[in-house]
C-alpha cells in the first residue's frame, strides 16, 4: 500500500513537472527530443567523417552509447541540486524527499524514451535489424534506470552536506564523457589503461543497452548481470546512506 501511494505521488509530480516545464515555451517537448539528436548528428559527423573511426555500423554504435549517456548525465546533473533547490518545500511539509527525486528522474526518463523512439526505430529500419530484439529493451534499460536513481540519490544527498558537490558533478561528467567508451569502443584503449574503464561503474550501466542494439545480444546476458549487480549495489548504498543521514538531512537543508 505504501508503495502504491509512493507511486501515485511520483506520477502526479512527474506530470506536473512536465506541465510546468513546457508552459510558456515556444516548442517545449521538441527541444528536449532535439537536443540528443543534434548531439548525435554532430558527433557522428566529427567521429565518423572527420576522425574516420573505423567501425562497422558506427552510427548505431554511437547511438547505443550516447543516448543512455545523455539520460544518465543530464538526470544526475539535474538531480544533484534538487534537495537544496526544493529545500523550502521539503522543510514545509511532510513529503518524502524520495518522491521529489524520483519524479525528476521519471521526467527525464520520459524524455529519454521519446528521443529513443524517434531515433532508434528509423535506425532499426535502415539497418534491417530485427525488431524482436527491441522487446528486450525494458530489461536492458533496467540497470541504467536503477543506477541513475542510485547515483542521483547519493550525489543529491552529498550536495545537502557539501554544496560544492553540484559544481564538482558538472565538471566530473564533462571529463567522464571522454574517459568512458561512448564514442569509441573499449578495444581502442591500450591494455595498460584498461583499469580506467574497469573501475568506471557508469560503463556497466550503459553497456547492456549497447550490447542489445549494436552487438545483437552476444554478450547481452553477461553485461546485464554485471549492470544489475553494479546498479543494485549502488542503490543499496544509497538507501543505507539516506536512512543514516535522514535526521541531519533536515537540519542541513
Amino acid at each position: 500500500m505504501e508503495l502504491k501511494f509512493f507511486w501515485v505521488q511520483v506520477r502526479e509530480l512527474t506530470i506536473a513537472s512536465l506541465k510546468s516545464r513546457y508552459r510558456k515555451t515556444f516548442a517545449g517537448f521538441v527541444w528536449v527530443v532535439l537536443n540528443p539528436l543534434l548531439l548525435f548528428g554532430v558527433q557522428s559527423l566529427v567521429f565518423k567523417s572527420f576522425l574516420k573511426i573505423e567501425l562497422s555500423n558506427y552510427y548505431l554504435f554511437l547511438l547505443g552509447g550516447l543516448l543512455p549517456w545523455v539520460f544518465l548525465s543530464s538526470t544526475i546533473q539535474m538531480s544533484t541540486p534538487i534537495f537544496v533547490t526544493q529545500s523550502h518545500l521539503l522543510r514545509s511539509f511532510k513529503i518524502n524527499p524520495m518522491v521529489i527525486l524520483s519524479a525528476q528522474i521519471f521526467d527525464n526518463f520520459i524524455n529519454f524514451m521519446a528521443s529513443l523512439f524517434f531515433t532508434l526505430i528509423p535506425f532499426y529500419y535502415f539497418y534491417h535489424k530485427s525488431f524482436l530484439g527491441l522487446s528486450l529493451l525494458p530489461i536492458a534499460l533496467l540497470p541504467l534506470l536503477i543506477g541513475t536513481m542510485a547515483l542521483s540519490l547519493l550525489l543529491s544527498l552529498t550536495n545537502v552536506f557539501f554544496r560544492d558537490t553540484n559544481f564538482v558533478v558538472g565538471f566530473a561528467f564533462n571529463l567522464l564523457f571522454y574517459l568512458t567508451p561512448i564514442f569509441y569502443p573499449k578495444n581502442f584503449i591500450p591494455p595498460s589503461w584498461h583499469w580506467i574503464v574497469d573501475y568506471n561503474p557508469i560503463l556497466y550501466l550503459l553497456e547492456p543497452f549497447r550490447q542489445l542494439i549494436y552487438f545483437d545480444g552476444h554478450q547481452f546476458l553477461i553485461s546485464l548481470m554485471k549492470g544489475l549487480f553494479v546498479s543494485i549495489t549502488l542503490l543499496v548504498v544509497g538507501i543505507i546512506t539516506w536512512k543514516r543521514k535522514r535526521n541531519v538531512f533536515y537540519h542541513r537543508l
Binding site: F5, H88, F93, F162, D164, N247
Partner: protein
C-alpha cells in the same frame, strides 16, 4: 509502529532523544573539510565530534481532543520535535508509538511548482497529502472556496503574496480530518480575519477528529487555539499544563511581563 493500548491515546513519545554531531556545523564545503583534514589530521581523524542534544529525553502522550500549544525560544527544539512526531525524522533513542495519521505544516510560503497556478498547486499538493484519495475535486474545491482567493486561484502561484499563499495552504491542510495536525508557526502569514475564520474551522475539525499541536510565539494565538501548553527548553519539557500558567511560565523565564 506498534498499536497504542489506550484508544484515546493517539501518540505516545517515550524518552525520545535527537542529537546532531556538531561537526556538521563546522564545514561548509568539501574545501573546508579537505583543509581541516590536511592541516589538523590528528584532530580530524581521531577526535570524536561533540553531540548537540536537540531533544533530550522527552516523554508525553497526545490524547484525543487535545489542543497542545508548544512554546519555547528559538533553538529549543520545537520544530525538531514536531518533525520527529510527523515521522520526517526518527529519534536516535526512545520511541514514538502511534497508529494515527499525522499531518504537519511548517511553512505556508511555498508551492510545489511556482510556475503552475494556485489551483494546479492545490491539486498537486493535495495529491501529495492524500495519496489514498481517488477523487480530490470535492476537498480541493471546498478548500479553494474557503480560502476566498476568487479569481486569483488561476494565476501562477509565484505571483501570490505571502498572505494569499498562507490562505491556500492552510485551507488545504485543514480540508480533510486527520488524527493529529501539527502547525508550526504558520498562522502568522494570514491576516487577522482569516485567522479568525480558520480558528473556527480548526475548532470544528478538532471536535470531529483528533488532536492539534500548535507552535507559536504569539500568546494570543495560543490562547485562541490551545487548551494546554508545553514549554520546551534546551530539548527538555520545562512546563506542561494550563494555558495561562504556561504562557506566564514562558514569559517569566525570559524576563517578560
Amino acid at each position: 509502529m506498534s498499536s497504542t493500548i489506550d484508544s484515546k491515546v493517539l501518540l505516545e513519545a517515550n524518552q525520545i532523544k535527537i542529537y546532531f554531531e556538531l561537526e556538521y556545523y563546522k564545514h561548509q564545503g568539501l574545501r573546508d573539510l579537505f583543509i581541516t583534514a590536511v592541516t589538523h589530521p590528528i584532530d580530524y581523524f581521531f577526535t570524536k565530534s561533540e553531540l548537540h542534544k536537540v531533544i533530550d529525553g522527552v516523554s508525553f502522550k497526545i490524547t484525543k481532543g487535545m489542543r497542545l500549544g508548544l512554546l519555547g525560544t528559538n533553538g529549543s527544539g520545537k520544530t525538531t520535535l514536531c518533525r520527529c512526531l510527523a515521522g520526517m525524522m526518527s529519534p536516535q533513542h526512545g520511541q514514538i508509538t502511534t497508529q494515527s495519521e499525522i499531518r504537519a505544516i511548517f511553512d505556508t510560503g511555498t508551492g510545489v511548482m511556482p510556475e503552475l497556478t494556485g489551483r494546479e498547486n492545490a491539486y498537486l499538493l493535495s495529491r501529495l497529502f492524500f495519496p489514498d484519495l481517488k477523487d480530490l475535486t470535492p476537498i480541493v474545491e471546498e478548500a479553494i472556496a474557503f480560502s476566498e482567493l476568487g479569481q486569483f486561484i488561476d494565476i501562477p502561484f509565484r505571483q501570490y503574496s505571502k498572505g494569499m499563499q498562507a490562505r491556500l495552504m492552510l485551507s488545504l491542510i485543514s480540508s480533510r480530518p486527520t488524527d493529529i495536525l501539527i502547525l508550526d508557526e504558520v498562522l502568522d502569514g494570514a491576516d487577522y480575519f482569516f485567522q479568525q475564520k480558520l480558528s473556527v474551522r480548526m475548532k470544528k475539525f478538532i471536535e470531529s477528529a483528533g488532536a492539534t499541536i500548535f507552535v507559536s510565539h504569539q500568546a494570543d494565538q495560543i490562547r485562541e487555539v490551545c487548551d494546554q501548553v508545553m514549554v520546551l527548553e534546551n530539548g527538555k519539557i520545562a512546563f506542561w499544563g494550563n494555558v495561562e500558567e504556561g504562557i506566564q511560565f514562558y514569559q517569566q523565564q525570559h524576563g517578560q511581563s
